[in-house]
Symmetry: C2
Subunit: 315 residues, 2 copies
Amino acid sequence: MGKYVFGVDVGGTTVKLGMFDGEGTLLDKWEIPTRTENSGENILPDIAQSIKAKMAEKTVEKEQVVGVGLGAPGPIDAAGTVYGAVNLGWGTFSISDTLSGLLEGMAVKAGNDANVAALGEMWKGGGQGCRNMVAVTLGTGVGGGIIVNGSMLTGAIGAGGEIGHIHMEDNETEPCGCGNTGCLEEYASATGVVRLAKRALQACDEPSVLREKPLERISAKTVFDAVKEGDALAIKIAGQFGEYLGKGLAMIAGVTNPEMFVIGGGVSKAGEVLFDYIRPHFERTVFKGCRNAKFALATLGNDAGIYGAAKLVLE
Amino acid sequence: MGKYVFGVDVGGTTVKLGMFDGEGTLLDKWEIPTRTENSGENILPDIAQSIKAKMAEKTVEKEQVVGVGLGAPGPIDAAGTVYGAVNLGWGTFSISDTLSGLLEGMAVKAGNDANVAALGEMWKGGGQGCRNMVAVTLGTGVGGGIIVNGSMLTGAIGAGGEIGHIHMEDNETEPCGCGNTGCLEEYASATGVVRLAKRALQACDEPSVLREKPLERISAKTVFDAVKEGDALAIKIAGQFGEYLGKGLAMIAGVTNPEMFVIGGGVSKAGEVLFDYIRPHFERTVFKGCRNAKFALATLGNDAGIYGAAKLVLE
C-alpha cells in the first residue's frame, strides 16, 4: 500500500494540483479554475473536493496520504497563516487549519508561492544538491524564494524573499506597482526589460532591429532575440538589465550566502546568455566570501509550485 | 546536580569565556589572551585548559556539562568547520571536532562571531521574544548576524549576514577594506562616520563645533554629540550615515523580513537618536510588507558573544 502526497499551487486564474508518490515522483497533474469571487471563499473547498475526487478515482485511502502542501500568492507564515492575498480575495486566516478541516484532518502545510516554487527547484529542479539557494523568477514581476539550510526563509510574516522590491535606483521617476520607486522589478522583470527598451529607443536614433516593430509590440523576448543577433542597442539594454539584476543578486548573496541562484520565469527563456550580462556586475559588487555562487536556469517551469508544495509535506 | 554550559567568544586579542547554568544565567565570566602565533595553534588548547581549570575550581563534573559553544571571526558553517580566520591565523578545519577532542568528547558547536552575538541578543538582549531578527554591529566595521525562525542564518560557507559589504554606492572612489568599493561599511561604521565627517568638513566652510578639534581627533562619538547639540553640519553628516544605513537595512528587510533590527557596536552608544536618521530612509525604500520591522538597541554589549555561544549548545 503506497504513500501519496498532494501538491497544490494556487494562482489567480487556475489552481494546479499534483499527486506524487512518497519519493516525489509526479504521478498525475491537473488544474481547476480559481474562483476568486466572494473573497475567494470557494477556493479551498474546491481544492478539497478535487483532491477527494482524485483519491476516489485512484482508489487512494485517507491513511495513504502523508499530507497536502499548498503554495499561494501572499505572505504566509511558517504555521500556514496567510496575511491577505489580494489576487485571491483572501484576508487573514489559517490555510492549514481550514484545508485540513475540509479534508477530515489530513496534514496540511502552506507557504508563499515563490518560496514554495524555490523549494521545488531545489528538490527536483535546477538547484538539486543545494541546501542554500535563491530562486529568482523573472516574469511580469520579479519574485524570489530563499532556501536556507534546506528550508524556506519565511520571515516574520511570510514576506521573506520579496527581492523584486529591493530599492535599486534613487533617480527613478516611474513608480513600481508596490508604490515605491526604483525597485529591482522595474528593471529586471519582463515588463522592466520592455520599459528599458522603450526608454532606450526613444532616447536615441541608433539603428536597431528593435525599430522594425511598433514600440508597443516589443517584449523581453524581442530584446534578447536581438541580443543574440548582435544588435548593439539591444546589447546596451541587456547591459542595463544585467547591471541592476547583478547588483541586486550581489546584495542578496551578501545577506544569505547561497550556493546557487536558480533563474526562472519568462525572461529566463532567453537562456544562459542572461548570465553573461548578470555575472560581471554580480562579481564586481558582491562580498568576496560569497562570490562563488553559481548561476543555473530553473528546469521545472510551471510545475515548480506543485513539486515544492509536495516537498513541504515530505520535509 | 546542576547542568552547565560554557560560551566562548574568540577575539583577535582576547578570548572571553562564560559559564552558564542550564537556564542561561551567567554564573562566571573571565578572559584569556588569544595566542595567534604559529597559525593560532594554541588557541583551542588554551580554551580547553581554561574550561577544565574552571570546572575543577567549581567542582563541575564532565557529565554536568551540556556542551561548549564558540564564536570566532571567520566563515564557519553549520557543522562547525571554519574556512580560514585571518585575524586568528587559522586555516580550514573543524573547530567542533578539534575542541571536542581536547575536552574528552564534550559536545561543541561553533559559529561566526557576529551570527553568534545576534543569537545572544535574541536570547537575552535587545531582541528578546523575536524569532526573526537582524543584529547590526556598527563598530570599526559593520557586522551583521541574521536570525531566521530562531536559528542563525549561516549560508553555504558561513558568510551569511556579511551586511557590511553590501554594495551601496557606485560613485565611491575610496576602496573598502574588503577590496570592493562603495560598501555599506564605508558609510555606516564608526570609521565610516569619521570619513563622512572629514569629507563634509573639507568640502565647505560652514561653521561647526566639529571644527574645534583637529580633524584627526574626530570620532563617531564627536559627530553624534554635535548632533545632540543641534550642530547643522553634524546633522547633515548623520543624515548621510542614516541614508546609507536606512537603505541598506531596507534591502535586508526585503530579503529576510525580520521583526526587529537590533543595533549595537560603538556607534550605537549615541542611543536612539540614530533611529531618527535611519528610519525615514528605511521606510521610504523598504518593501511595504516588511515595513513594520522595529528598531532596538543591543543591550548585552561585549557579552553578546558568550551568551550566543551558550545558546548554540542549548538550542
